[in-house]
């Protein structure tokens, strides 16, 4: 269903990664950064659909959706419009949904809370690890920080642990971060660390000229590529505009829309 010409797909070049690096290097870390004016959630929806869609060569993808931001019904409604039934996928055990809306770590038990939470994720990954591609999606890290009462260090530790799953099981990790939160104050290193750990950084920004009907914002995709150099978009920065619709998103280069 994914149009092969989609600029986002090109920029991500996930397909290329899958076809030629089946061996040692499987997992990826994708970071989606957004701000108050433009939500980057649509990228996540796109990726959920992409990893769950049946016409992908390997239908043994499993998605772990860790949702701090929205209830299941919200994702379900959106993905249904995009042609992907999350309820059915959940029954098929291809989608594992972690409803984290109410997660709260007590003041003195932040670490324990996160360890238990990580344990859940690890268990789920281990159960599904045999011959399957697992994608862990976290929506979003900024809310995870709130849930842990601002203990950024613990959140970082947690993210590092999640990254070990990438090396151990070849999981792909996709996470959303609200970047503008950290633009002031002393927390500015946090997004930098996240960017450093990410293989692909997708940044959703509003247009400088303001809101428009036809262009909802611009995406900047930085694909670091891998050392093996097989990826065609190694170290390249892609920049394009997008317009979000109910069932899809149009991507186009600035000014190329008639």
């Amino acid at each position: 269903m994914n149009r092969p010409t989609s600029l986002l797909e090109d920029a991500l070049s996930l397909d290329a990664g899958e076809s030629n690096s089946r061996g040692p290097e499987k997992g990826l870390v994708v970071l989606v950064e957004d701000c108050v004016e433009t939500s980057g959630a649509f990228v996540l929806h796109h990726l959920i659909k992409r990893f769950l869609s049946p016409n992908l060569s390997s239908s043994d993808n499993v998605v772990l959706l860790v949702a701090f931001a929205q209830p299941f019904s919200h994702y379900d409604r959106i993905l249904r419009k995009m042609g992907c039934n999350l309820v059915a996928q959940r029954e098929n055990k291809r989608l594992l949904f972690f409803d984290m809306l109410m997660l709260e770590c007590p003041d003195d038990g932040v670490e324990d809370g996160l360890i238990a939470f990580y344990g859940n994720i690890q268990k789920a990954v281990e159960v599904n690890s045999s011959n399957k591609n697992i994608t862990i999606m976290i929506d979003d890290i900024s809310l995870l920080e709130v849930a842990t009462n601002g203990s950024t260090k613990d959140v970082l530790n947690f993210m590092h642990y999640c990254h070990t799953l990438k090396t151990q099981f070849g999981c792909t990790i996709i996470k959303i971060l609200h970047e503008d939160i950290y633009s002031s104050g002393d927390g500015f290193t946090f997004p930098l660390q996240m960017e450093y750990l990410a293989d692909i950084t997708i940044k959703a920004q509003p247009l400088i000229t303001g809101l428009a009907e036809d262009v909802h914002g611009q995406l900047t995709v930085l694909n670091k590529g891998t050392i093996d150099g097989f990826r065609n978009s190694k170290g390249k920065i892609h920049n394009f505009h997008y317009k979000i619709k109910e069932n899809s998103v149009d991507y186009f280069y600035p000014g190329s829309r008639s």
Partner: protein, 358 residues
């Protein structure tokens, strides 16, 4: 590409034909959402129908002017008129006294036109013309019946006592409590007493919290406590049929915390006072004298959809019509000579180009 375009356009649903809810004060919106009125007809229209049930609405206050109170008052009054339970928390000693300042409904339109028939005949034509312009809004107002989705409020008259006495109104003071756990508990208790959504909705609740992080509260310096409080309110409200309406002085918290709050909000509004004697602005905007302040709409709730709501304008002027009812209008730029045509009009607090409309 072209064919897919056609397909998507035919896919879009017609919103206007959505059936109106049988429960007064609620109406169905797109994507299986339900709206609840803000108490200001213009704001409802701008937001596409009102506040989503289950949404967290946050208002960024202007520390110099109490315009957020206008929004808060109409929000609460509208709830009382629809017999919806209201929960109110404020940093005052006696929050219940605030209920006395809520506005009453304006006398119905027919009465008004009877009264003012002679004196404003010429005005009335213009007024009606305007009414027909806004015809695409769903007409839920039943003229003769008592069930109106959104009432007009007379800000000069206090609400009838029986409406306060006859409804479930809970008032909590934010002053005494050293931690937010107590308020959270009373909120969750309030929400748990609302009837659950089971196919047909019967009633909705309103939570109004005024000046949430004001410095006189004891928890003022505990930024993360406040954040997790808002987050838990958000998730509690999301799973119940209520709307939480929180005003906060954004300039009093650190910028990063303020950003986090803005991210947490489903619908984000900001009010701003306009200086009394700003000559430059006065020449730039028509109707400057009547303006109370500016309202910017920074974020509109996006439930069950990923498509952002793009408004025609993000900044509106708040005006008092005949000194009693609150209306919102687009900013109209007066014709100016080239020399003074600076971009001053966009100082309304939003980066959007839509701030000034011609």
């Amino acid at each position: 590409m072209a064919s897919s375009k056609v397909r998507t356009s035919s896919f879009s649903r017609k919103v206007l034909t959505a059936p109106t809810s049988s429960v007064p004060g609620l109406k169905y919106g797109p994507n299986g959402t339900i709206f609840l009125s803000s108490g200001i007809a213009d704001l409802d229209k701008i937001l596409g129908g009102g506040f989503h049930l289950g949404s967290l609405v946050m208002i960024m206050e202007d520390t110099e002017a109490p315009h957020h109170m206008l929004l808060l008052r109409t929000f609460m009054s509208q709830g009382l008129i629809h017999n919806q339970p209201v929960f109110y928390a404020s940093p005052s000693k006696n929050p219940r006294a605030f209920l006395g300042t809520l506005p009453a409904t304006l006398v119905s339109k027919d009465d008004k036109s009877f009264k003012g028939d002679a004196e404003q005949k010429d005005l009335r034509i213009a007024w009606q013309y305007k009414k027909y312009l806004g015809e695409n809004k769903p007409s839920i107002e039943e003229r003769d019946g008592k069930v109106e989705y959104c009432n007009d409020f007379d800000l000069r008259k206090p609400i009838e006592k029986h409406l306060i006495a006859g409804n479930r109104v809970e008032c909590v003071s934010l002053l005494g409590c050293s931690s937010l756990a107590g308020i959270r508990d009373s909120c969750s208790k309030f929400l748990s007493q609302l009837p659950r959504y089971d196919g047909s909705i019967t009633s909705a609740g309103r939570i109004a919290i005024q000046s949430f992080c004001s410095p006189q509260c004891e928890y003022y310096d505990k930024e993360w406590d406040m954040l997790s409080f808002i987050r838990s309110i958000k998730s509690m409200v999301r799973s119940s049929n209520a709307v939480a309406f929180i005003t906060f002085p954004a300039s009093l918290v650190s910028p990063s915390v303020s950003k986090r709050w803005q991210h947490l909000a489903d619908t984000l509004l900001a009010v701003k006072a306009i200086p009394d004697e700003d000559k430059e602005l006065a020449t730039l905007l028509t109707g400057y004298q009547d303006m109370l302040g500016l309202l910017s709409i920074n974020k509109v709730a996006r439930f069950n959809t990923q498509v952002p709501v793009i408004l025609d304008a993000t900044t509106y002027s708040m005006k008092l019509q005949k000194r009693r009812s609150l209306v919102l209008e687009c900013l109209n730029q007066a014709p100016v000579d080239g020399s003074s045509g600076s971009s001053y009009g966009t100082s309304g607090g939003c980066s959007s180009t839509g701030a000034t409309d011609f």
